[in-house]
Symmetry: C2
Subunit: 526 residues, 2 copies
């Protein structure tokens, strides 16, 4: 570490760098819950990077990359560290490249309209500054308080309003990035020839480091219109959701909660991500922990009970939608939506649930700690499929997870041809094996994920919709891509011939190397 | 040639192949007007392929590719040959791979909905068969009578209804293709990781041969609503067009004709592509040819006269739009559009112009021959830019072309952030140089194109919007892509290590080779 910093300081004296112990610990994690188990045990060994650098210009990024390529030093590009799949979890020989000092607006064209902004710009301040000028990017991931433009591009992020504005890949017009060879390349999304932008979007820092993005903007909406309906079954709800999108309606927000999730939503908790801390626990941490431990001891039984009482007790599934635009059009859209949804059996629930959801849209849960403090864990899994495969995906993943953990689900990010299912789950080991509680939790966690990923692939779904692949799902990417994985590997060699960019993330290694084996339990790579 | 066929027949006896003289002449061209000049002179030498093969399965395509890769034989994938940029113009050592015997429907999912269809399926029968099942692909290129699914994907085609349904790249969910190494790969457009589909879409057969595509479908629209407005200037018209799309309206069709084009449109010729045969010429071929020769002798003066009388004589620019969907919504869309456009100075022209356009949408001009028979040529150039750059692009390309040829323009394929400009031009050499009239026409043609492409790049526009790059624009792709061209070359080596797939198309060679030098006049590669 000291050697790496000395060499860096000698060769690139103008690039701000540190191997201070506090910095190294601060960058020894992202928000991957599995790693959270280790952090809870106070164990960050193996993941403190050698050095952290904070380049301020694209030219500095390029020089850092060329420096690293010459020496074979692995780099991990870093935004705000809120990924949940271990995509930026470093190992100890890594130089972390934090882009947050690159946060300038470079150019704006109000006629097109677009904004060119550097990759390190944080999410919420960007949307607020655009709003003051009468624009919106339309990108509202629930991580908007703790994520960057570069992170969105790298992970192929989706915001809550994706129904109208699309995912981040629909917003990116051009990317400036630095390849693994240290070349600065600007890729424009143009009308002819192959489009290279979609290669880098979603590549999670493994092909190039994104330094700036030109993003398509929209006029800020002047009005919103709200609607919600309940259904006897989740299936009836998603048939209505499909009908809305195939009928040409494009609600910015659409969310369908299954009966238990819907019950929580009706109780006003709908603004928070469906995480384990939404399991009704007492505000007293001690009592809550005990209740949680009890609840999570028999997840299979708990899931079955909730399934069987389902809509009878909880009042059915709940679909809420929000249209954006000018006032007249938005309320017409609600009229059209009501006609369609109510013809399919939806019961009108008024504007309230969708309004409440919007009011709490950023009430992001930073309160995982009570769950983890109770010796349990929580996580989320977002998968997607075309409508025909959705029932098998929903049932398959739910069943697979349900054998290990307590699981809830909602659907969001709908499209004319399919939808994303967002599972939230929480678990706790029943008894401590020789390795102790943490090892037991890890075993349970790995078992749940392995079963869920297998089920998603089996059902013909994707491994991920907007959280990315990271290190947690990389070993399964080959199973989803089939022969396409060879092309991805070939592209990796093309963009990053020395293999220094974020090794271990996204792309499964042909021969497992120690980094991946370390970050990745053997069971997951099976 | 005989050797190639003998070797093919020996190694792949079940693949239908021919080196019959008639077949070789039939495949010695596409619809690139420059090559048309040579064809007019009866000269197809240099472009008759060695052999034509008609594979019937993906497996046969893969075996042909592996066979060719082993021997270094160049392949040209072929759909229906209606490209206008020389993308499938073969040389004499080439094996043409005609995909039209692969035209099966493989699978259809009416819930998503999507269709998986083989690459050789022709356009219009596909749309008709989908219509019988209540669906539409929404892809209506003016070449729909003479183009295939694979050709659309290869060229990144746009249909007339792209305002609502998008370009072909928005319709492709998955591609089955054969790489230059002979590997069959299926690429799915999924939510996570890098998206490889956009690499192959638009790659014009240089990275892989597309054998099948899974295409997103839409419910067939139950109604259409029509609108048209006139404007004093073309600029006022495109401001209104921009306002429509940025205001959230998505007319399937939107076309803005400049004053002279609009005059032709008003005379009922609006359904035909704006080509030289729309220059008002007498139905008597002899008199027409003479009139055309006269008109085209001084294109600069003619352009100036038409410019200066412009809107006064011709009645201004004309914008027509067509909304699709259910009846109620479509007519509401027209109401919303009227409010916006008329606030910006548009004069309501009723439904007539747009209805007439639709009635003649497939009245494609196969009548280039009178123009060419008159010793002249015609061509079209479609470029695109964001709205801010559109005025410079329009004026720059118009001026550059106008010094060489007679030029008209219309705008179609609008988006919230920009638009395509479609130039139509016709020219004739003023005097015969030593090489004769054909050589003189070629010189004029090359000069016009060189000036126009330079002007498009100078204005920050694209070289092409939906006709592709082919052989005619390949030498300039580097000027548009900048350093990105190195990545394209690296991708070419990755997908097609032997360089056998459609060499000379799309990707400018690092060292010009005889094929390109032959197909490409030196001036164009300057």
């Amino acid at each position: 570490m000291a050697d790496t910093l000395l060499a860096l300081a000698h060769d690139l004296p103008d690039v701000h760098a540190s191997d201070d112990a506090a910095d190294r610990v601060a960058y020894a994690r992202d928000l991957w819950p599995r790693h959270h188990l280790a952090v809870r045990a106070g164990n960050v060994a193996g993941h403190r990077p050698a050095v952290v650098v904070w380049p301020e210009t694209t030219e500095q990024v390029a020089r850092v990359v060329r420096w690293a390529a010459e020496r074979g030093v692995p780099l991990v590009p870093f935004g705000a560290g809120s990924g949940v799949c271990g995509a930026v979890l470093p190992r100890e020989d890594v130089v972390v490249v934090d882009l947050k000092r690159m946060a300038r607006w470079r150019a704006m064209d109000e006629r097109a309209p677009w904004l060119e902004v550097e990759a390190g710009h944080m999410g919420l301040p960007l949307e607020e500054a655009l709003g003051q000028r009468g624009f919106t990017l339309g990108h509202f991931p629930s991580s908007i308080l703790c994520s960057t433009v570069g992170g969105w591009v790298a992970a192929r992020s989706a915001g809550q309003a994706s129904g109208y504005y699309g995912k981040i890949e629909d917003m990116v017009v051009a990317l400036e990035c630095v390849t693994g060879a240290g070349d600065v390349v600007t890729l424009h999304r143009r009308a002819r020839g192959p489009d290279l932008v979609p290669l880098v979007v979603g590549s999670e820092g493994t092909l190039a480091i994104v330094t700036a993005a030109r993003l398509r903007l929209h006029p800020a909406p002047s009005a919103r219109a709200f609607a919600a309906w309940s259904f006897d079954t989740t299936e009836a709800g998603w048939n209505a959701l499909r009908d809305l999108f195939q009928g040409g309606l494009r609600p910015a927000v659409s969310r369908l909660y299954d009966p238990f999730d819907a019950m929580l939503a009706r109780r006003g908790r709908v603004g928070r991500p469906r995480r384990a801390d939404d399991v009704p626990i007492s505000p007293d941490p001690g009592a809550g922990a005990a209740a949680l431990r009890g609840l999570l001891r028999h997840p299979g039984a708990l899931n079955e009970v909730l399934d069987s009482v389902g809509s009878r007790v909880f009042g059915g599934a709940l679909l809420l939608v929000i249209f954006e635009g000018d006032g007249e059009q938005s309320s017409r859209d609600v009229d059209r939506a009501r006609a369609r949804v109510e013809a399919l059996g939806g019961r009108w629930e008024g504007e309230g649930p969708a309004r409440r959801w919007l009011a709490h849209r950023y009430s992001i849960s930073y309160r995982q700690s009570p769950v983890f403090a109770a010796g349990a864990f929580s996580d989320t899994m977002e998968v997607a499929a075309t409508w025909s495969k959705l029932p098998a995906l929903y049932q398959g993943v739910r069943r697979a997870l349900g054998e290990h953990v307590f699981v809830m689900a909602h659907l969001s990010h709908a499209y004319p041809d399919g939808c994303c299912i967002y599972f939230s789950f929480a678990g706790r080991a029943r008894r401590a094996p020789p390795g102790g509680w943490d090892a037991a939790c890890e075993q349970l966690y790995d078992g749940a994920w392995r079963a869920a990923l297998d089920a998603a692939i089996e059902a013909g779904g994707t491994l991920a919709h907007h959280h990315g692949v990271g290190r947690s799902k990389a070993p399964r990417l080959g199973a989803e891509l089939g022969t396409g994985i060879d092309l991805v590997r070939a592209l990796k060699r093309t963009f990053d011939p020395r293999g220094i960019l974020n090794p271990g993330a996204l792309i499964p290694p042909v021969d497992p190397d120690p980094y991946v084996a370390d970050a990745q339990p053997a069971e997951l790579s099976a």
